[in-house]
């Protein structure tokens, strides 16, 4: 393993070095072939996804930080200074990330989309509030009251500091009073005496009003006044489109003269039939800015007060004051109208007298005052929506304070009034949720107290209902808010508000979430009760759905092409993921405060929607990919960019979904969700991609080979650029595979098998291209000859292939086969996993074998190319050795040069391989030469010359390599030796072989001879003792044997007699017992291969044709040189033999010398001996 690590390290080092050494131009040219196909799937995507991962991580860090930063403050109301200043947090070292262009594009898209979403008109109307509740109070009355209070201010320091005049001009502004009116009312206030008696009227509700509007409804409001003072009219709010309005509003009318004849007029009006209230309020919504809204409210109030409106009277109730008991009463009054007999409806009133202002009236007054001043405040201070946090300007503060004191409102009441006043404006002028939260925290205590006032509780919930839409709306439409800290704070506030509300006992009689305000709730969770937490959940879901809907509509495809569809899917997934990232930031708040798994809820929603959107279409796209698949037969064709980019798109989408799934796993843990199986949608696509990748790889290899200048990349290696380029492709495929991170093990296994098989194919392709590339190199044609010289390029080509081949195995290790097999063993069983492993190994081994063969093939090609020259030179050497010794040098030079190049350039393995091959070829050449020249009856000199040449060559080979296969060589050399011998030499060679054969014998059918031999100086003493078990030669079953002694080679011993023994008749165990002495010259005695031959023959009775029984040889070197008596020497037992093998090289050579009499004679005798026929 470690060696493989090292191996890869070298490769990557080399890759790096190549990058730095060779200009990028090379790489660029290569990538141009297919538009960076592999990089797009490999390293580029890898980098991108890495950076996305980093970004996720970073976001996570940010989110954590953010929640740390936001939560305590929102939740525990810590001081802002206590939390970390955001600048500091941001400047913490964070990994630098370079966004690549596309990523930036994505970011921009997402931001833009959300921007658009923010500004998009709501598909559905905002929460409608039909109980729009601009209580048309008597503005003048309130103004008068305020002026009066300023004038009579009690013990408040502020008033003194600010000065009465300043306050007066402030209220004039706030109430938008004309100077004239102001002065008039101011005088009135100054003159005004505190009233002694007040008539407290609560307008509760009306029923069965007649319809005034075309829609069968009315927009009723109530005007009340005393007959004695009909100019001071009090108006209730307008209830829109109802015949059964509920007001529950309080009024305190001063009873000036205590005459009991006064009459209370209660008039119920239909508001402005020409322009319905809804239209009017519609106007308010359209009127931009606070000024417009205030003006409109004022207008409505004034017109109602002055009775100048074109409103239509519904009915009047006249109540004489004397009918009212001092204890007060609750009563239904019927509403009548002049000239009309029919009842116009009934109205329920609570009437009582009091000396002080009714506290409910005061509260209502205070509320109106707060509203007025608040609107003025908002208008003048230019505070943005959701920002006002309860702080009035000092004048307003002073006026409010005065009203509080002079109206005798207690702090609890004030809290409720504030709640009512603030929630009242929330719809049009949203205030800070933090403000509500603070207030709510206070009110909660009152609400939980046993002493709570049920009336206040009711009011509280009534107004809470006005706040809730805004709260729920924030959650639902959070995507329309900027993605910043502020929004997060608001969410935290809202969640805390909801939490507090949830802890309170909710009213049974009123629906907190009426359908008219929350129409979207209908389609959601119908069966579930509309509890705060359920509605919150529904809001989250609805918000997500709406947003996604918008995204899907907005992110439109340009056309219906597959490409566009994929881009569209990818975009959607990216955008949704970015939304989820934001959701993750808020998730902790939701979980902690409302125990809602916010991000998970959204994720489940999105994953389902995305699955619905993508699955079927994607599967069919992948299926249809086959039709785009490449035409395998035209590799060079390059117009296939369409499905190329298709592949890229698919893969990008896959990675995006993979990250999406990853996010889901973090959010949902082990829960099963549909998109988890999204990889199966791509299965067909991956196959196609792999197929396309092979084609691409081949194209690139082709280009790489073309661009290769066939010089080593650097001095340390023996391969050139295309080898590295090819490995780079493999590397990219590996990165692609890593990226794919295919979750299904069984198919992973198949894919890996295919990848390995494909890589093998690429290797082979590379080998072929490489071979073609160098083909023709080194072929030299000049005036004299055509020959082949081994070139560096050839060697590099071979090395390149070898290098690629050797990288294959470590490369497959990189594919993590081991862990794959292990996983297979886990999900299936070890045995099957083992079989799979075997298959993978087999595929690989097979690949390696095949490539190795390819290499050998190339080596053979080189060797083969060298053959003609070698053959030619060998022949020349053999034919003209004596005349021109230069020719041998030329053979040697040729071999030397080429072997030197091979040795220099090839790696060791391949050098040894080619050496073997050259030897093999040489063998073949020589065989051919020998045989064809034997046929041509070349003289022995030809062969011996050839042999001399060969020996020279051997020397030169040995020079470079010791392990040369010598068996072949020895054989060839022997053949040359044999054929190069003179005939007599050859004959003697036959004898020597006979002697050697005899030494091997363990027994003999012909019998055995016992002798003693001795050299005494140069005298050879031969004692023939006996023979045993001679083969019967005669018909009588016996032999008449004798032994003749000769010395060989014959021509060297012509002067020596050939003594023979007596004939011993009819005896298979003859006892010869004869001794001969042969006087040799010292030259003869020391002949290197001298032999003594004992020839045992059967004498025929005529003595004419003795029969050959057998012969035995003794080598002269084996005869002891001693002065001892021969009788004292040990006996030598010799097996008799006959020539049995007549096809030895020597005999064949002799047979080839047809015209040679000597040879002919010898062979004739040899055959006779062999067959045992009589010898003449």
């Amino acid at each position: 393993m470690s060696s493989e690590d090292a191996f890869w390290k070298t490769i990557s080092d080399k890759l790096k070095r190549q990058k730095s050494v060779v200009e990028k131009a090379h790489e660029r040219k290569l990538q141009e072939v297919d538009g960076s196909f592999f990089e797009r799937f490999g390293s580029i995507l890898h980098e991108r996804s890495e950076s996305e991962k980093k970004r996720d991580l970073q976001n996570h860090v940010r989110a954590t930080k953010a929640s740390v930063r936001f939560l305590p403050r929102a939740f525990l109301h810590q001081d802002y200074e206590d939390s970390q200043p955001p600048q500091e947090a941001d400047s913490e070292p964070e990994p630098e990330i370079e966004l690549n262009e596309e990523e930036i594009d994505n970011q921009i898209i997402i931001t833009n989309v959300n921007k658009e979403f923010s500004s998009s008109a709501d598909s559905e109307q905002d929460e409608k509030d039909d109980s729009h509740y601009y209580s048309g109070m008597n503005l003048d009355e309130l103004y008068l009251e305020v002026l009066y209070q300023i004038h009579h201010n009690v013990g408040c320091d502020v008033t003194f500091e600010l000065g009465e005049t300043a306050l007066l001009s402030y209220v004039q502004d706030a109430f938008k009073m004309s100077n004239e009116k102001h002065n008039q009312l101011l005088t009135a206030a100054q003159e005004r005496e505190p009233p002694e008696l007040l008539l407290n009227v609560e307008v509760i509700e009306a029923k069965d009003l007649i319809a005034k509007d075309s829609n069968g409804l009315s927009d009723p409001f109530v005007t009340l006044y005393l007959q004695s003072n009909s100019s001071r009219r009090y108006n209730s709010s307008v209830k829109m489109e109802t015949l059964n309005p509920v007001w529950e509003e309080h009024f305190a009318l001063p009873v000036m003269n205590e005459s009991c004849d006064d009459i209370l007029y209660i008039e119920v009006w239909d508001f402005d039939p020409a322009e319905t209230m809804r239209e009017k309020f519609g106007k308010i919504l359209k009127v931009k800015g606070l000024r417009g809204a205030t003006r409109l409210i004022k207008e409505m109030a004034i017109t109602a007060t002055m009775g100048q409106h074109e409103n239509e009277l519904i009915g009047i109730a006249k109540i004489p004051l004397k009918t009212i008991p001092s204890s007060g009463m609750l009563m239904w009054y019927s509403l009548d109208r002049k000239y009309k007999m029919a009842r116009q409806g009934v109205i329920k009133l609570h009437l009582s007298f009091g000396s002080e202002k009714n506290c409910q009236v005061a509260a209502q007054e205070h509320r109106h005052l707060l509203n007025l001043l608040l609107l003025h405040e908002l208008e003048t201070s230019q505070i943005g929506p959701y920002e006002w946090d309860g702080k009035f300007g000092s004048q307003a503060e002073a006026i409010i304070m005065q009203h509080k004191i002079q109206s005798g409102l207690c702090p609890t009441e004030i809290d409720f009034v504030q709640w009512a006043a603030y929630t009242f404006v929330q719809k049009e002028h949203p205030l800070s949720f933090g403000l509500y939260l603070k207030l709510l925290t206070k009110i909660s205590k009152h609400l939980c107290a046993p002493s709570r006032n049920e009336e206040s509780v009711k009011i509280f919930w009534t107004f809470t209902k006005k706040l809730l839409p805004s709260c729920i709306g924030l959650i639902r439409k959070v995507r329309k808010r900027p993605h910043d800290k502020k929004t997060a704070e608001q969410i935290a506030d809202v969640l805390n508000i909801l939490l507090q509300l949830m802890c309170l006992q909710q009213p049974f009689d009123s629906d907190l979430f009426p359908t008219n305000l929350y129409p979207w709730l209908i389609s959601y969770e119908e069966e579930k009760p509309r509890s705060i937490s359920n509605v919150l959940n529904a809001a989250v879901v609805k918000g997500g759905k709406d947003w996604l809907q918008f995204i899907l509509e907005r992110t439109e495809k340009q056309d219906n092409s597959v490409d566009e569809t994929l881009v569209y899917f990818h975009k959607v997934v990216q955008i949704v993921r970015s939304d989820l990232q934001r959701a993750v930031e808020y998730d902790k708040m939701f979980q902690r405060i409302m125990n809602l798994e916010y991000a998970k809820t959204l994720y489940n929603l999105y994953q389902l929607e995305i699955s619905n959107l993508i699955e079927d279409e994607l599967i069919s796209i992948c299926k249809s990919l086959k039709t785009f698949a490449y035409d395998w037969n035209c590799l060079s064709q390059s117009d296939s960019n369409d499905h190329m980019s298709l592949g890229t798109r698919l893969f990008e989408l896959y990675l995006a979904l993979q990250r999406f799934v990853c996010l889901g796993t973090t959010l949902s843990g082990d829960d099963d969700f549909r998109i988890r199986n999204c990889h199966t949608w791509f299965q067909g696509g991956v196959e196609q991609w792999l197929d396309i990748a092979v084609v691409r790889a081949m194209q690139r290899i082709e280009k790489a080979v073309e661009l290769d200048d066939l010089s080593p990349i650097d001095e340390s290696v023996k391969y050139s650029s295309s080898a590295l380029d090819t490995l780079t492709i493999f590397h990219q495929i590996k990165i692609f595979w890593d990226q794919l991170n295919w979750p299904d093990i069984e198919s992973s296994y198949s894919f890996v098998a295919k990848i390995i098989d494909d890589l093998c194919r690429c290797c082979l392709f590379y080998a072929d291209k490489m071979a073609t590339r160098v083909d023709g190199m080194g072929d030299i044609t000049d005036n004299y000859e055509r020959r082949f010289e081994v070139t560096k390029e050839w060697c590099l080509a071979i090395n390149n292939i070898d290098y690629v081949c050797q990288s294959l195995k470590p490369f497959t290790e990189e594919l993590q086969l081991n862990s794959l097999i292990q996983q297979l063993a886990e999900i299936r069983n070890p045995l099957e996993a083992e079989r799979c492993n075997d298959t993978l190994q087999n595929v690989l081994e097979n690949a390696l074998d095949t490539i190795q063969n390819k290499i050998v093939e190339l080596l053979e090609t080189v060797a083969m190319k060298m053959s003609p020259a070698m053959k030619k030179l060998l022949i020349e050497g053999a034919e003209i050795l004596h005349q021109d010794s230069n020719s041998i040098h030329r053979v040697m030079r040729y071999l030397d040069n080429n072997l030197a190049t091979l040795y220099e350039e090839l790696n060791e393995d391949n050098f040894n391989r080619i050496l073997d091959i050259i030897w093999g070829n040489l063998g073949n050449i020589l065989y051919d030469l020998i045989h064809s020249n034997i046929d041509k009856r070349r003289p022995p000199a030809f062969f011996s010359n050839l042999k001399a040449t060969l020996q020279l060559m051997v020397k030169s080979f040995k020079h470079t390599d010791e392990t040369t296969d010598s068996e072949v060589l020895a054989k060839i050399e022997w053949l040359l030796t044999v054929n190069g011998m003179e005939t007599n030499e050859l004959i003697h060679q036959v004898h020597i072989e006979r002697w050697r054969d005899q030494l091997e014998l363990k027994s003999s059918p012909y019998g055995e001879l016992t002798v003693r031999l001795q050299f005494l100086n140069n005298d050879l003493k031969v004692e023939i003792i006996n023979a045993r078990n001679l083969i019967p030669m005669d018909s009588n079953g016996f032999c008449d044997s004798f032994v003749r002694v000769c010395l060989l080679p014959e021509e060297k011993f012509t002067n020596i007699s050939k003594p023979r023994t007596q004939t011993h008749t009819k005896n298979l165990f003859p006892l010869y017992d004869e001794t001969f002495t042969l006087n040799l010259t010292s030259g003869q005695r020391n002949l290197p291969d001298g032999l003594v031959v004992f020839c045992v023959k059967d004498r025929d009775f005529l003595g004419m044709s003795n029969q050959f029984i057998g012969e035995a040889f003794v080598h002269l070197k084996d005869i002891p040189d001693t002065t001892a008596n021969i009788k004292t020497l040990s006996q030598v037992h010799l097996f008799l033999s006959r020539p049995s093998n007549l096809t030895t090289d020597c005999i064949t050579a002799l047979e080839n010398r047809q015209g040679d009499k000597l040879a002919k004679e010898f062979l004739k005798r040899l055959k006779q001996k062999s067959s045992g026929s009589p010898i003449s």
Partner: protein, 220 residues
């Protein structure tokens, strides 16, 4: 040339890629194992996707290396096996003679192969049909030899054989037959192409050298 010593490190046979297709359970894996290692395992596992084995085979004194891809028949493995069809030299369609439906499915297998291997219509791709489990008793047999031959005729397939991986009958023959079939298809395809043998090539070059050498000599 008889004395030539083979010094190559590996065999240099012609490589033939063989794919074995057929329903799950007809005995594809057993056939392959019988052929490659002459061994039969009654309780073999289901093949996952593909299996691969190498085996040399000698026909008319020529050696061939068969790269045998055994595939998984189940539908759920479909996407795992089809990538391996491309580049095949021989396709072995198998069924079990005691399973009629496996026989009927051969049409499907043939088409799947042609589609994914990108074989041109009506090209004479060397298919061979193998009816395995010929050892089963007469009563169990569901596909007759006649039916097999008829099907082959209708589909223009020239080679078919009944085998038994269990008792090793006809297994070697089946593969041999497949290669011979391939050879015939090849020779048909190559008929017009002229093939050079090394010796022809060499002697040509040699004579060239000699001629030019002589020319050089006269120039001198």
């Amino acid at each position: 040339m008889s004395g030539r010593v083979n010094m190559r490190p590996t065999n240099k046979n012609a490589l033939l890629k063989v794919v074995i297709l057929g329903d799950g359970g007809v005995g594809k894996s057993c056939l392959m194992n019988r052929f490659v290692s002459n061994h039969f395992d009654e309780h073999s596992f289901h093949t996952i996707g593909v299996e691969f084995l190498n085996k040399d085979i000698e026909i008319d004194n020529e050696s061939y290396t068969l790269q045998i891809w055994d595939t998984a028949g189940q539908e759920r493995f479909k996407t795992l096996r089809t990538p391996f069809y491309r580049g095949s030299d021989i396709c072995m369609l198998t069924y079990a003679i005691d399973d009629k439906s496996s026989f009927r499915n051969m049409n499907m297998w043939k088409n799947e192969f042609l589609y994914y291997a990108d074989i041109k219509e009506n090209s004479s791709f060397p298919f061979i049909v193998v009816g395995n489990k010929s050892d089963v008793s007469i009563e169990e047999r569901e596909v007759s030899q006649l039916e097999l031959e008829t099907w082959c005729n209708e589909n223009g397939i020239a080679s078919c054989i009944e085998t038994s991986a269990k008792n090793a009958s006809n297994v070697q023959e089946a593969f041999k037959m497949a290669v011979q079939h391939w050879l015939r298809a090849e020779s048909r395809a190559d008929r017009t192409e002229c093939t050079y043998s090394d010796t022809v090539d060499l002697s040509k070059k040699q004579s060239d050298v000699r001629n030019s050498c002589c020319a050089g000599a006269t120039d001198d």
